[in-house]
Symmetry: C2
Subunit: 333 residues, 2 copies
């Protein structure tokens, strides 16, 4: 295993120390338990949007902590859910009377631990709502999931509901908006190469010299099929068609198109894929109103991409455009 680290068992904590040193004006980091909170306090009565999940998907979630997005994030060990204690500690630190909205990706461990945390918090008198993100159309159940997996759509949920919380929406309203984004977004990914979890030390799966895994999960879980490498036009079509057919998206829809790197895909390939996706959408009469291109939901150094399509309405568009200031998304502020 070739990685820049000292000890596989402390990699998350070591990285959090670097995060804290790099962004003192924006973030505060605790390591016991591991919690990243924004320096700017939650306004009294406003909703605190809190998320978390296994590490190794950075910038998800700690890179989205800041004004206009998350109030706090709980990073678990690599590819492993945070504990209920982490979630409770995070909410206690940022909740300001308006309640907490928990954004949870649909993996069995995460759902269970956030559920336990929600019960503990409610017993303390904190109002909690949870949105479970399950946007991945590739497979229905998986090694880590009952139902669909939560993947790229999570970023869009967190940005949009973060903006709703920032404008003062109530907890119920925030829960409705987060649920609406989840209901209107679909995603699918592919992998060109696996990744190596530090404490495991070997690749999460094996791919032949010319093999691609279509429908890959963000922990390297198997997808729909393995195919030989083919030109980008075909690869992007293999992701986009299941995404569009699922909702289904229709001619006349206006969407946000999110082309995501799984970590090790260069911007050159990513923008190339984005251009292809936009042309395929145009062929179906679907108009891209907003774009997001970059490594936002990653699987360590995995090479590959995912494509997410979110059907926009005017409110979701305005919330997407609203100011945000985090290490990974930053505009208008």
């Amino acid at each position: 295993m070739k990685k820049i680290l000292n000890d596989p068992s402390t990699v998350v904590t070591d990285a959090l120390r670097g995060l804290a040193l790099a962004h003192p004006e924006l973030l505060r980091v605790s390591t016991d338990p591991a919690v990243v909170t924004r320096v700017e306090p939650t306004p009294p009565g406003a909703v605190a949007v809190v998320s978390g999940g296994g590490s190794g998907h950075e910038p998800l979630h700690s890179g989205f902590v800041g004004p206009g997005m998350l109030a706090a994030a709980c990073p678990g060990p690599v590819f492993t859910s945070p504990t209920p204690d982490q979630v409770v500690a995070a909410v206690r630190e940022v909740e300001a009377g308006g309640g907490a909205l928990l954004v949870v990706k649909n993996y069995t461990g995460d759902v269970l631990n956030f559920e336990t945390a929600a019960e503990l918090l409610e017993a303390e008198g904190v109002e909690v709502r949870t949105v479970v993100v399950d946007d991945d159309v590739a497979v229905t159940d998986s090694s880590f999931t009952a139902g669909r997996r939560g993947v790229g759509g999570t970023v869009l949920v967190e940005k949009i509901v973060g903006a709703a919380a920032a404008r003062g929406d109530s907890l119920d309203r925030c829960a409705e908006i987060a649920g609406r984004v989840n209901s209107q977004v679909r995603s699918m990914g592919l992998a060109l190469s696996p990744c190596v979890v530090p404490h495991v030390g070997r690749p999460s799966f094996e791919l032949g010299e010319d093999e691609i895994e279509i429908g890959i999960g963000i922990h390297g879980e198997p997808g729909r099929e393995r195919i030989p490498l083919e030109p980008a036009d075909g690869l992007v079509r293999r992701l986009l068609e299941p995404v569009l057919d699922d909702l289904p998206f229709a001619s006349g829809d206006e969407v946000l198109l999110f082309t995501n790197s799984m970590g090790g895909t260069p911007p050159l390939e990513l923008y190339l894929a984005h251009g292809i996706a936009e042309r395929l959408l145009a062929e179906r009469g679907i108009r891209v109103r907003r774009s997001l291109v970059g490594p936002y939901v990653t699987s360590l150094e995995m090479r590959g991409i995912s494509v997410s399509v979110l059907r926009l309405d005017d409110e979701l568009t305005a919330l997407w455009d609203a100011p945000v200031r985090t290490t990974a998304l930053n505009w208008g502020s």
Copy 2:
């Protein structure tokens, strides 16, 4: 070669089309010749800061086009200088009477082509100054260079001189500031893995299972030495000590610390390295006033990092903090 592309010979143009589609509010892209310009026009009499270089280092340079940074960028073929024609076309499009400052990385082809472009532009009556960035302390001459190579420091030069141009500084003043940044910044990198240039189709070099190349260039040029993999503390020290000893930096200095991914290094490893670098600087009495962490000067999918240290003064700090709005750096705007 496993990549997301259609045809190795059109990869740059195909990616530029995606870039244009993704950021219509910020960028305008021409493909013949390849030029990326910002939508916001150069204010009359202001300096137009223009850069460019081989593709494959994204977001450098097109990801730094926008208000507060570059007026235009000229992407060459992968790892190959843009032509003089590209540079002339870019400057013609954005120059607004205040002259053009060309930011050029010190590689033989780039220096020659930007020089030719400068002569052509001066013959047309456009005032031009050039700053050649040569911040890499790893080697003195290389396969592509007479003198030191231009690497991570280029981003810092472009951000800071872009802010000087935005506040209305004269061409001479901009040239002085860009030269000052270059004189105060030093960098060095390492590689864990090579990259594959699309039109070549095979890795740029070979590294053994546990080998690291110390002092790597951004085109995969050899560095100082190959060593067996070691813990991150030692790796970061091997980069930072030559950087600090070169200027030299001294106790009491205040610096910007820039920890850069060569493309395929996950944020977890990058922030971990940043934390180590900051501690090593503290040991020498050097204070980190500003941080930058991310993939900003890449070599396609290469895994590795570079560390750049810039000695700050109050003016450089204020220009660093000034608003910028580009796809890769975005704050305060």
